[in-house]
Amino acid sequence: MISEHDSIPEQLTTTASNGRLTRRAFLERSIALGIGSGAALTLLNACGSSPTTDLTYWNLFTGGDGVRMVQMQKDFTKSHPNINFEADTLTWGDPYYTKLAMASAGGRPPDVGISHLSRVPAFAASNMLDPFDLNELAKYDISEDKFLPSLWQKAQYNGKLYAIPLDTHPFVMYYNIDVCQKAGLLGPDGKLKPLDGTAAVMDALKKAQAVTGNLGLALDTRDVQPWRLFYTLYNQLGGQILSSDGRTLVIDEGKAEQALSFMRDLTITNKVASSTMDYGGAVATFGSGKAGFHWNGDWELPTFQGQNLHFDMLPIPNFFGQTYYAQADSHSFVLPHQATVDPTRRAASLEFISFMLKDSLVWAGGGHVPAYLPVATGNDYKNMSPQSHYASVASNVVFDPVAWFSGSGSELENQAGQAFQTVLVGQFTPQQAIAQFSAALQKLLKIPPPL
């Protein structure tokens, strides 16, 4: 009897291969077996394990930095065996934010999620996020003095804290050391001589182009990159897009034209950058040494390190000699709104966030600038090269304008990218592109907000 039960799988396979088992009998036995073993497993699970807290976490790190996040998650599970931790990575952009929104609206979202700081105001305004309790946070070494004031401010909405910043990821400049050396652009310390002003930048790009024989600058002219470059230039000129309440369009057309004209000079007038390059092409061109410079977010650092490229990184230049800004966003931890809050899970969430912040040196390996000051000002980070070369940007970053249709991966970025790409390919003049972008924003401002 016992041996019969033990060898049911073998019985199934032998009788099935003998052809003596009918389909019905096979189905019956395999279902019985399945249910039986399933029941056995649940019984096993119930007894013999200590009380564990469950913790679920969603993030959108499908890029190279995702590897670092997985490493940090492993560090967490190793040091917290009493927490049953489950992490899910969803695709960056719409697929992530739509799921987060719908899960929060349904009342049963993950305990902790990632959100770009530029998206937090819209989500907080719609009650899709729970505010943090500052007293509870203090128990986990998270307080206002541990972050840059601008970041801490940005994470607030209506006087409450809705996000804990993990990093800042600014728009930076990569340069190929060998190409720049041949072009005579390096100083005596082996670092790039400072490029102040559009003329100096253009001159450097031309010199680099002469060395590579191909391009001076590898720039993605499709998707969102034109927006990031434009926004950096435009803010360096002191321009604003939306009023502080997010209701009125306040574009300064003169400054916007100036910014777009410089972009046009890059691809059309001086042809130091290709007007038709896409993101993958730009990364490949710079990575293979066919361009001297590359303007992108800081997250491609691991890609170029993996290609053993001799490169360095610096903040994007100050083009106009005015107040310095660089476009950036910040990944932050948020608490999606729960229908009923389980105190043990909430405590585990705070423990998780605190651990991640303290472990963010690993995260910095992916290129991002840690937001947690004890890590960012520590010697370990200061010795990281090239990360420490552009870390100073963090206090001069500017986020996307605040509106329900704005933020990373939003409709504003779509419209901006498409409109400004027309300038880079020479299809429209700067004036036409601004007119198109302004019209799109006016239309979005008139729509009754769904958030």
Partner: protein
């Protein structure tokens, strides 16, 4: 006498059999319904009911995150009929359909005709022409976006090698849709090709023999035998192709994201962007209903046109 009784019996007997067949047919119908019911329930629950809910949504400012907001009446529909983005998306979709449908039908027919000749290794050509169809859209777009890459893509490299100028496949608003159609043709011609090939192989060879005896050459045989015999399959392929082309989304979204400057954005992508990127599912529902009516009109029109041709023939 006996005639009369038979005459009386016959209607009574007929009435009796009618009675019997009615009950047994009623039982048969019930059994049939029982088999269909599980699927019918799932279909009604997950297709019909959401469609009705979607229609209701289109009259509200319905948010992806917050659900039902204020009642808007017909405001969503008014907005979309005066929305330049809606009309440009519609034009793009129709442009894609008009470009891709003839290519996918004629090319498929030509390939099937060539393969159907008595050539060796027919199975090899069948596999080659059908193979792209089994690839998923992301793989196809990955391949073609590198082929179209400006500067070091294979296509531009070939063009410059033979002395022609580079073409900005994905960044020139006049060329981008052609690039999409080329990709789509490579990817999906295999399906129509297989249908045509199967149809051709079903044509009885006696017809061809009779024609060749009467002195018809290959071209005449194709014109007067092959094409008419494939009439029904052609109708099917045409209707399926038009409906599928009107609903194009995946390859355009991945290849050009609807660009450059929204010149390739199809209707489905506009619905997706309104509903999921901008969280406005009420507005997106309105657009999808208008588009649904449009596809219905086109399909019914096609069907009536073809069935009239059939009847006339």
């Amino acid at each position: 006498m006996s005639d009369l009784s038979i005459q009386e019996q016959a209607p009574r007997a007929a009435a009796q059999t009618r009675q019997q067949s009615r009950t047994s047919r009623w039982r048969t119908d019930l059994t049939g319904l029982g088999f269909v019911l599980p699927f019918l329930i799932l279909y009604a629950l997950f297709l019909i009911w959401p469609v009705i809910l979607g229609l209701r949504m289109s009259f509200f400012n319905w948010s992806l995150g917050k659900g039902e907001l204020e009642f808007l009446g017909l405001a969503n529909y008014q907005e979309l009929f005066s929305d330049p983005a809606f009309s440009s998306s519609l034009v793009n979709t129709l442009y894609f359909t008009v470009l891709s449908t003839p290519v996918l039908i004629i090319l498929a027919f030509l390939l099937a005709w060539l393969v159907n000749r008595a050539i060796p290794a027919q199975w090899l050509f069948r596999a080659i022409f059908f193979a792209p169809f089994v690839l998923s859209v992301s793989v196809v777009v990955l391949i073609w976006s590198w082929l179209y890459e400006p500067g070091f893509g294979l296509i531009n490299g070939t063009l410059t090698a033979i002395g022609l100028k580079e073409v900005n496949w994905l960044t020139d608003t006049h060329v981008a849709m052609l690039a999409v159609v080329l990709l789509t043709a490579w990817w999906t011609v295999g399906f129509n090709f297989v249908l045509y090939l199967a149809g051709m192989q079903q044509i009885p060879s006696e017809l061809y023999e009779a024609a060749s005896i009467d002195g018809a050459g290959t071209m005449a045989q194709t014109r007067w035998i092959t094409i008419p015999q494939l009439g029904r399959i052609s109708t099917l392929i045409l209707i399926l192709q038009v409906i599928a082309s009107l609903q194009v989304f995946g390859q355009i979204y991945l290849l050009t994201s609807g660009g450059p400057n929204f010149s390739t954005r199809p209707m489905i992508q506009y619905i997706y962007q309104s509903g999921f990127t901008s969280f406005r599912v009420g507005f997106a529902s309105a657009i999808s209903f208008v588009f649904f009516i449009l596809i219905l009109i086109i399909s019914i029109g096609q069907f009536l046109l073809v069935s009239r041709q059939r009847r006339d023939a």
